[in-house]
Amino acid sequence: MALDDQRDLVLARVRAALGSRAAPAVASRSGVTSESKPLPIAFVAPGAAPGGMVASFTQAAEEAQAMVSVVESFDAARQRVGEILASEGVGRVLVSPDAADEPWRCGSFARGDDAPTITGQDQTIDVRRVRIARAEAAEVGVTAATFGLADTGTLVLCASPEHHRLDSLLPPVHVALVQACDLLPGLPELFDRLSAEQGFARHSAITFVRGPSRTADIELTLTIGVHGPCKLFIVVVEEVRRG
């Protein structure tokens, strides 16, 4: 097909551009050599802060306008989710399977939607349309988070059959559940973990979430709540239990 021809053309141009000069390319004026320096780890050493990783994560996430609760047990977490939903006064709550399953067991909070649970295997209905309609109609989406980054207060969400991407995106309120033992100091540690666990091969989407959505496109005035959620609640559980 005529459109495919350009692959060879582009590669040929790139090779010609590189081949005409000896690699390494330009003598670096900044004095940087081509050897890799050991990467500075986190900006903050979260372990050193009082309260350690949980305290650092909480502080950093709150700086991004997330509302963080730290609880001791999964029972307390469930109770906290109930309190959040009650205070938001909502009628339609969507709970992603990863928040409904062990160890969170928040499935009983799902309400306002009588349709059967969708799985990715469903062939009989237009899964996409139903999922979009359902997430769009919901007032709150409750999901788990796979990791948290302590230095910036960022959640890491990994798409899977149990974690539905739209649940943390379409509803105006997102409640995220994360275990303290899944908090990592920062990005280098996260990429180490993802590499070790084949993260990019297993998940079609890994999403970092820091605070609710925002924009400053008009006069550089910060406004919270644009296309993504307008509110983010995070519940951190200190009890260690693998789901």
């Binding site: 790139v14 390494p24 798409a159 059959p161 079609s204 989407a205 999403t207 924009t215 709540g225 296309h227």
Partner: protein
């Protein structure tokens, strides 16, 4: 009107616009402060910059290898890769994909390369008008304007401007309340996200090792664009490739801080292939369109190649004294400010004024803030050299003979102390002639360019040499 004349006219118009200049000064000033505060909080900032530069150099030095690996990985995860040597080919790829899926409605998140290839107009002309979803981009799409700043494209519009625009185009009551206007954008664009047949995004990074597409944002529109519609198309320049996923730890530390002063943006999407078996949300198909469009030309120019390292943070724009006075529109190119001057001639030869490398004071503020340490002033000098030697667009430059004469005269005067003193004396006499009311308000002929927008102070009665001599001889008096 040729490109040079148009650029000069644009600059004059911008300088004569006090509202624009106040706005630019305020906005760029705030970006600069935010960035500075974020950088101060990071003691290892310089180490990160060094590492970022090294990674980009490595990526570019073996670009063909990394591109092929990226393609291999994307395909292994169920995605498709299309290659476009030119802007036209890129547009055709997108249209072909849209037609193959019977696309009627299309949403788009921010993509500078889509502006570069004039995608929106092309698609609209073929019956599929992409809807911009980034708040700033949507505002200027409604207004029929071009972006004026790489991070905040509608920053030249006041809240009143936006209120009037929304009242006119959306039929809502006119308001200048920013919260209300934002809610209106959310309400209106939600319908588009949920009904679109195709979502197009750009890419901040393409990871060769894993075939991952990385999109950095704050609003959530990119997440929606890349999750809700059944087809996701990524438009990306070939220079966006980085070797490893772990490299992102460096770039994600630098980009949000440099762009908006945030330690991390609200959302970063790392997308590898379409949705997997068992996943309920996400596109069924993923297409990546890799675009050359002059990048290989820039790659071939070893002295300018580092410009391809740019991660589009906008920090150079915010500190540039030229950009801060004239704004993005005056450049008339897709990429404005210091980095725009570097890349535009290669990416859009026909549309780039030859003046851009000269529209710089070479102050170096841009090089100081560039997160990937592009040595912009040195590359600008190289580009100036190319323009003067005629390698770049050969627009006639006015008064070139006069410039040559002046430089020869200056070189001659600097070559000997006697000639220097004589020239200095003559110059002081000459400037006396043009003094009006204690200032030099207007110089004759082509020298008039120096006094068109500001006055020169009058040179002192005595030179420093004279004062020094008098002091040593004990005859120093008042100047």
């Amino acid at each position: 009107m040729d490109l040079h004349a148009r650029f000069v006219a644009d600059v004059r118009r911008a300088i004569d616009n006090p509202q624009l200049r106040v706005l630019l000064d305020d906005v760029t000033g705030r970006f600069v402060e935010k960035r500075a505060a974020a950088v101060r909080a990071v003691p290892e900032w310089e180490a990160f910059r060094d590492e970022a530069r090294r990674i980009k150099e490595e990526a570019l030095a073996h670009l063909d290898r990394h591109l092929l690996e990226f393609e291999r990985q994307v395909v292994a995860r169920g995605g498709q890769v299309h290659w476009a040597a030119t802007a036209d080919q890129a547009r055709r790829h997108v249209l072909a994909i849209a037609r193959a899926h019977g696309v009627a409605r299309m949403v788009k998140s921010k993509s500078m390369v889509s502006e570069e290839v004039h995608l929106n107009e092309w698609m609209a002309a073929h019956g599929i008008a992409p809807v911009e979803t980034d708040f700033g981009e949507w505002i200027i799409q409604l207004a029929g304007e071009r972006p004026s700043h790489v991070i905040a494209p509608a920053i030249h519009k006041s809240r009143g401007d936006v209120g009037r625009l929304f009242a006119e185009k959306l039929g809502i009551p006119e308001t200048d309340d920013i919260e209300t206007l934002t809610r209106e954008a959310r309400r209106h664009l939600r319908r588009e996200f949920c009904s679109a047949d195709l979502g197009m995004s750009g890419a901040n990074f393409l990871v060769a090792e894993t075939g991952t597409i990385v999109v950095v944002e704050n609003e959530g529109n990119a997440r929606l664009t890349t999750t809700a519609p059944p087809v996701h198309v990524v438009l990306a320049g070939i220079e966006k490739v980085i070797p490893r996923a772990a490299d992102l730890a460096v770039f994600l530390a630098l980009l949000p801080r440099s762009a908006t002063g945030q330690p991390m943006s609200s959302y970063v999407s790392l997308m590898t292939g379409p949705r997997r078996a068992g996943e309920t949300d996400g596109p069924d198909e993923l297409h990546v369109v890799l675009i050359d469009n002059g990048r290989s030309r820039l790659l071939a120019d070893a002295a300018a190649r580092e410009a391809l390292s740019c991660i589009r943070c906008g920090a150079c724009q915010n500190v540039c004294p030229v950009y801060r006075h004239i704004g993005g529109h005056a450049y008339e190119t897709v990429y404005a400010g210091p980095i725009g001057a570097l890349v535009s001639a290669h990416l859009d030869r026909a549309g780039t004024p030859p003046d851009l490398p000269f529209a710089s004071t070479l102050c170096g503020a841009c090089a100081d803030v560039c997160p990937v340490k592009i040595d912009i002033p040195t590359v600008l000098l190289h580009l100036r050299d190319q323009v003067m030697r005629g390698h770049l667009p050969d627009q006639p430059l006015p008064a070139r003979w006069l410039q040559r004469l002046a430089i020869r005269a200056w070189a001659s005067a600097m070559a000997s102390p006697g000639r220097y003193r004589l020239a200095s004396k003559l110059l002081r006499l000459a400037t006396r002639i043009v003094v009006r009311g204690g200032r030099i308000r207007a110089l004759p002929g082509p020298f008039g360019n120096w006094t068109r927008f500001r006055d020169f102070p009058v040179p002192a009665r005595k030179t420093f040499h004279q004062l020094w001599k008098e002091r040593k001889e004990g005859t120093a008096g008042h100047v």
